[in-house]
């Protein structure tokens, strides 16, 4: 079972009224052999990521790397300025005044780790992308309020449109829509 993102391949879109209903829909199709899903929910649905077998985001490591790189860079810059480039006698303090270099090092670590986290969250989430095929589905706008949409079988050879539509309805879908391939443009 894996996550598949809509974009290039056709998919079945099913509308559910709650998170648990959505999870039930996935379980029903999984039994039918469909393995590729995506979901669009107004808030995070507990258990969804686990059900789709997603591991923890690697965003943490990106943030860590950025924080260390820029924090270390900040310290090195301070050292280079004060020891190498233009050493000046400042109140009799040592050129390499390590304790005084720490606050900026810390702040730069946090700043760039945070920026990396934000940018990664946006980019890894496939954003910015103002238009997306799912926005063409009538009623999709409730995905940001109280409806939970499931996309089934994106690029999945096992997808059987009629069978799976029936299965989704049986699992509690309020509505099932066919989302054509991207080549079709706006349906």
């Amino acid at each position: 079972m894996r996550l598949a993102q809509i974009g290039d391949a056709p998919a079945l879109m099913a509308e559910f009224s709650s998170g648990p209903a959505l999870l039930a829909g996935i379980r029903a199709l999984r039994d039918a052999g469909v393995s590729r899903f995506d979901a669009f929910t107004p808030y995070e649905v507990a258990g969804l990521q686990e059900l789709l077998g997603l591991r923890r985001s690697r965003l943490t490591w990106i943030a860590l790397a950025a924080g260390l790189a820029f924090g270390g860079g900040a310290y090195l810059l301070q050292w280079w300025i004060n020891v190498i480039d233009y050493p000046l006698d400042i109140g009799g303090r040592p050129f390499h005044s390590a304790p005084a270099f720490i606050p900026i090092t810390f702040e730069m670590t946090v700043l760039f780790a945070s920026a990396a986290a934000l940018i990664s969250a946006i980019v890894l989430g496939g954003l910015p992308r103002l238009w997306h095929p799912v926005f063409e589905i009538e009623g999709f706008e409730r995905a940001t309020v109280d409806r939970f949409w499931l996309a089934v079988g994106v690029g999945d050879a096992a997808l059987d449109r009629e069978r799976d539509t029936a299965a989704l309805v049986a699992a509690g879908a309020l509505r099932v829509e066919w989302l054509g391939a991207r080549a079709g443009g706006r349906p």
Binding site: L88, D89, I90, G91, G92, R93, P94, A100
Partner: protein, 965 residues
């Protein structure tokens, strides 16, 4: 609510010098390459280079030349050296060869350059305010010349110039009917009259304090307000410098009412009202005679003897007499000019009785022409008024001075002058006298004219111009020549001619180069006290003191008001009160309590009674240590002329000066509704038991290990995490340091003014001073110790201490303040963004911030030192140890391939100090005076416990009080 948001004082000169006159000035000044010199003053780069058309051989652009000349006040010359940047005088230093300077200057001497460039000086000849031509003056003078000078009256300032005297004598001969009066309100008159009482002749007292072990000053501010103050300050300081625990030290007694600089350094100070000084003097004479005074008739002593007064007073008089008698021949008693002639006579008698005459005290003919004669008296002015009212005056020439303002008010001189049919005023300003006169001719500043004058000791001092007259003014001599109908000639030619006639055999050029005529001091006159005449003169006991008396005193900086338009001097804190931009009635805490006033509350002072009563509203200022039941009020304020800076500030003390009451009249004071916020720069006067201004007595320094240990603690090693000099203290560079001697410092503030002139320190105005925004890099702190009504004062020059571990440096976020390898705490103005963090972290609070654009405006910019950056608004500044002088000396030494000499770097404050209380040099040179002073037992660092390792150290204030019997 704070009104600090007021802009810099609007009374300061505003921009507005028109283009034409600025250009005219440059042409006149011959400052062809001025652009190069001025480049440093502007934040905008100069666009043009203007080379000389013909470069004077002595000029190297950027390198100032020094010329010797003199500044004259009340007829007495102080020799100075003036630095000129390509024809632009910028800085005044004392002339070491001149006996009245010895290299030092007074605060007001330093400020003279700003007066020179005062844009509010009189600029053109006027006739009742309307522009007039010189021909009108020629006509007036030609008319005055007729009939042998009948109806012609002249009022001059006292003069000692041989050249002017020559002219006066010619006038006396050619125009015998002309009447002359000489007037300066604070010219010394009582001393001459007193000596006439004691010696039979109006002689001038010449003190030589170099050998005086004991000095008693009877209301005589020897180191502050005296034509010879600079020399006396040096002489007294030389006898009081503590080098080690075995150093001898003279003893100084001061009897006075206000708290003068002499009172500050005195070992014993007796505060009495001015009128009581005579009582003290009489008792002292009696005691000296009783202890075996030479030549003095014992019966005189018996006649003066009186029941002992208040115990402390009696004890002090006994101690003075004891010390004086022990040091007979090596002591001196001096009386101040505010005292009546009888006190001067008594002082002369005491000196005679102690055998001081010919040793520490000598007499000479007066240096000033006709001093002590009737032409110098108030009566001469009264005669003039009578003559005007009698219609006898056809032409009145007032040449210099400002008698319409600075004379007894009941004379009605201003109104009388205005009634004179034809009158001419020659002076620097459109002042009160100018406004009373019909014609006004712009006068010449001392730095603009040729001439000569005598110092107080009589030394002839040539005067030469540093610059062409800025506003086409004329000298007194030029007017007198015109009056005599002399053919036209330049001032220079006339000066040389008169010099050759009056001083034959004295080379003018050589005198100009040296600044003095060697050996021209007036010789001592043999004089003896005529005891019987003296006894008769002082037979009557002094009149009973009034309930409250007033002392109208010359202002320490403005003198009689002649400098009141100089904003530098107005903003210089008056030493006793730290008051700026105002005068106020100084009174003791007890008298203030009795009158129900505190500092700033308004008092109505009334002199005279009934119809003749004169009242003046003036704010009170409480001065601990002032005599009770007495008020001191400085003259020079309440000006009503055309000087825009001076106008309308303070109260005119001269309005309480009557011919009957004199300068120390009985007065009544009453609290008035109202309060004036006084711009006083110090609000807290106690040390709060902090190790800042340390001190003790000579006896303690010798015998008291506790004091020596305490002082040693304040200079010893401090625990620190900082490895300041890992490779040992640097010895290859100079390491600059300063040492300031609190024992000899009088608080006269000459150093403050010298610093301001050298370093382009701006003036901020009264409003900004009220909000503690004054800009002086160097200030004189004043601390009071002991009882609040009679405290001992310690003054402490406080400026950047150039800490080795400077707290200001590490908090600057932009490296605007850093440390140089030679130990300077550098301030890079152009890097400063104005966080003011450095000021907050400076324990000495010596940093100054440009809250507004305080730069000099208008012509005043010409007083700027081109070697020092003029700071913009929004930047911090502070003492640099005169880094421009250090770097100049460094460059000169490096070029000459020699080490910097011990006297190559002299800071501006150091140069100005008459007491030589400031030493500066490198501590890597063990022989330098600063190194030597740091080894003395009473050297210490202020706030040593803060670990700042200041480079400036102080020598503790050591006093030498005697046992009181």
């Amino acid at each position: 609510m704070n009104d600090a948001s007021e802009p810099p004082d609007s009374s300061l000169p505003a921009p507005g010098l028109d283009r034409l006159s600025r250009r005219a000035f440059f042409r006149l000044a011959g400052a062809g390459a001025a652009a190069a010199g001025l480049a440093a003053c502007s934040s905008r780069p100069a666009r043009n280079i203007l080379p000389y058309a013909s470069q004077p051989p002595e000029v190297t652009p950027g390198v100032p030349l020094h010329y010797a000349t003199a500044l004259v006040e009340d007829g007495f010359a102080t020799g100075v050296l003036v630095a000129s940047h390509q024809g632009r005088p910028t800085k005044i230093e004392g002339n070491p060869d001149h006996p009245a300077s010895l290299g030092a200057t007074r605060a007001r001497d330093q400020a003279a350059v700003l007066s020179l460039y005062d844009p509010q000086r009189a600029r053109s000849i006027t006739d009742r305010g309307a522009p007039a031509a010189w021909s009108a003056i020629e006509q007036l003078l030609a008319g005055a010349r007729a009939h042998g000078g009948r109806g012609l009256h002249l009022v001059l300032e006292p003069t000692s110039s041989p050249l002017v005297i020559d002219l006066i004598e010619r006038i006396r001969t050619a125009l015998p009917a002309a009447r002359l009066a000489f007037w300066a309100p604070f010219a010394p008159r009582a001393q001459l009259a007193g000596n006439r009482l004691a010696l039979g002749r109006a002689l001038q007292t010449q003190l030589d304090l170099r050998t005086a072990d004991v000095v008693v000053a009877l209301d005589a501010d020897l180191v502050g307000d005296h034509p010879m103050a600079l020399a006396y300050a040096r002489q007294i300081a030389d006898r009081r410098r503590v080098v080690d625990t075995s150093s001898p030290m003279s003893r100084l007694y001061m009897v006075e009412s206000g708290y003068s600089p002499t009172g500050v350094i005195a070992d014993h100070r007796l505060r009495v009202r001015p009128s009581e000084v005579e009582r003290i003097a009489r008792a002292l004479l009696a005691a000296v005679i009783a202890q075996g005074g030479r030549g003095a008739p014992a019966e005189l002593g018996a006649a003066l003897a009186r029941p002992a007064g208040e115990p402390r007073e009696a004890a002090l008089i006994a101690a003075m007499a004891r010390d004086l008698t022990r040091a007979a021949g090596r002591c001196a008693v001096a009386a101040g000019d505010r005292q009546p002639p009888r006190v001067h006579a008594i002082a002369a008698a005491i000196n005679a009785a102690l055998g001081n005459l010919g040793r520490t005290v000598a007499f000479s003919e007066p240096a000033v022409f006709e001093a002590g004669q009737p032409s110098h008296d108030v009566a001469a002015l009264a005669d003039l008024v009578r003559a005007i009212d009698g219609g006898e005056v056809t032409a009145l020439l007032v040449l210099g001075g400002n008698p319409a303002y600075a004379a007894p008010a009941d004379l009605g001189l201003a109104a009388a002058i205005a009634r004179a049919p034809a009158s001419l005023y020659l002076g620097l300003y459109d002042n009160e006298t100018a406004r009373a006169c019909r014609f006004v001719v712009p006068g010449l500043h001392d730095l603009e004219q040729w001439g000569a004058a005598r110092g107080y000791d009589g030394t002839i001092t040539p005067i030469q111009p540093l610059i062409e007259p800025l506003f086409g003014g004329r000298s007194v001599a030029a007017i007198l020549h015109e009056l005599l109908g002399d053919p036209p000639a330049t001032d220079h030619a006339r000066t040389q001619d008169a010099w050759a006639r009056r001083l034959p055999g004295v080379d003018h050029a050589a005198a100009l180069a040296r600044g003095t005529v060697a050996g021209s001091a007036l010789p001592a006159v043999a004089a003896e006290v005529a005891w019987s005449a003296l006894a008769a003169a002082i037979a009557a006991p002094p009149a009973a003191a009034p309930a409250l008396e007033l002392a109208i005193a010359p202002h320490p900086f403005l003198h009689d008001g002649r400098h009141t338009n100089n904003p530098w001097l107005l903003e210089l804190p008056e030493p006793a009160t730290k008051l700026t931009w105002d005068n106020a009635a100084q009174l003791s805490p007890r008298t203030a309590a009795q009158l129900g006033v505190d500092t700033g509350d308004l008092l109505a002072l009334t002199v005279g009674a009934a119809a003749a009563a004169r009242t003046l509203d003036v704010p009170a200022v409480v001065v601990p240590g002032h005599a009770d039941d007495a008020i001191t009020l400085h003259a020079g304020f309440g000006r009503d002329g055309g000087e825009r800076v001076a106008r309308g500030i303070g109260a005119d003390a001269f309005r309480l000066w009557t011919t009957a009451g004199g300068l120390s009249p009985a007065v009544t004071a009453a609290r008035r509704a109202g309060h004036r916020e006084l711009a006083i720069t110090q609000v807290h006067w106690q040390l709060e038991d902090r190790p800042i201004a340390l001190g003790g007595t000579l006896q303690q320094l010798r015998d008291d290990a506790a004091l020596r240990d305490e002082l040693a603690r304040h200079r010893g090693p401090q625990p620190t995490l900082l490895d300041r000099f890992p490779a040992g203290f640097p010895t290859q560079h100079n390491q600059w340091a300063m040492s300031i001697d609190l024992t000899t410092c009088t608080g006269c503030s000459a150093c403050v003014m010298a610093c301001a002139t050298e370093n382009n320190t701006p003036v901020v105005g009264r409003g900004s001073v009220l909000n503690k925004r004054e800009m002086h890099w160097l200030r004189i702190d004043r601390y009071l110790e002991g009882p609040s009504d009679d405290p001992v004062v310690v003054v402490q020059p406080m400026t950047c201490q150039h800490c080795e571990n400077a707290p200001c440096e590490y908090v600057c976020p932009v490296e605007a303040t850093t440390h140089s390898p030679d130990g300077l705490n550098e301030m890079t103005y152009n890097r400063c963004i104005g966080t003011r963090f450095c000021s907050n972290n400076c324990p000495y609070k010596v940093r100054r911030f440009n809250w507004f654009d305080y730069k000099h405006r208008d012509l005043h910019v010409l007083a700027n030192n081109p070697d020092v950056t003029v700071r913009d608004r929004g930047v911090m500044e502070k003492c640099t140890y005169c880094v421009q002088r250090i770097r100049r000396a460094e460059i000169d030494a490096r070029i000459a391939d020699r080490p910097i000499g011990a006297h190559d770097v002299v800071t501006a404050c150091q140069a100005a100090c008459p007491a030589q209380a400031i030493a500066f040099g490198s501590i890597t040179d063990p022989a330098s005076s600063v190194s030597e002073q740091r080894r003395r037992p009473h050297s210490y660092a202020v706030l040593h416990d803060q670990g700042t390792a200041p480079r400036t150290r102080y020598l503790a204030r050591i006093r030498n009080p005697g046992q009181l019997p």
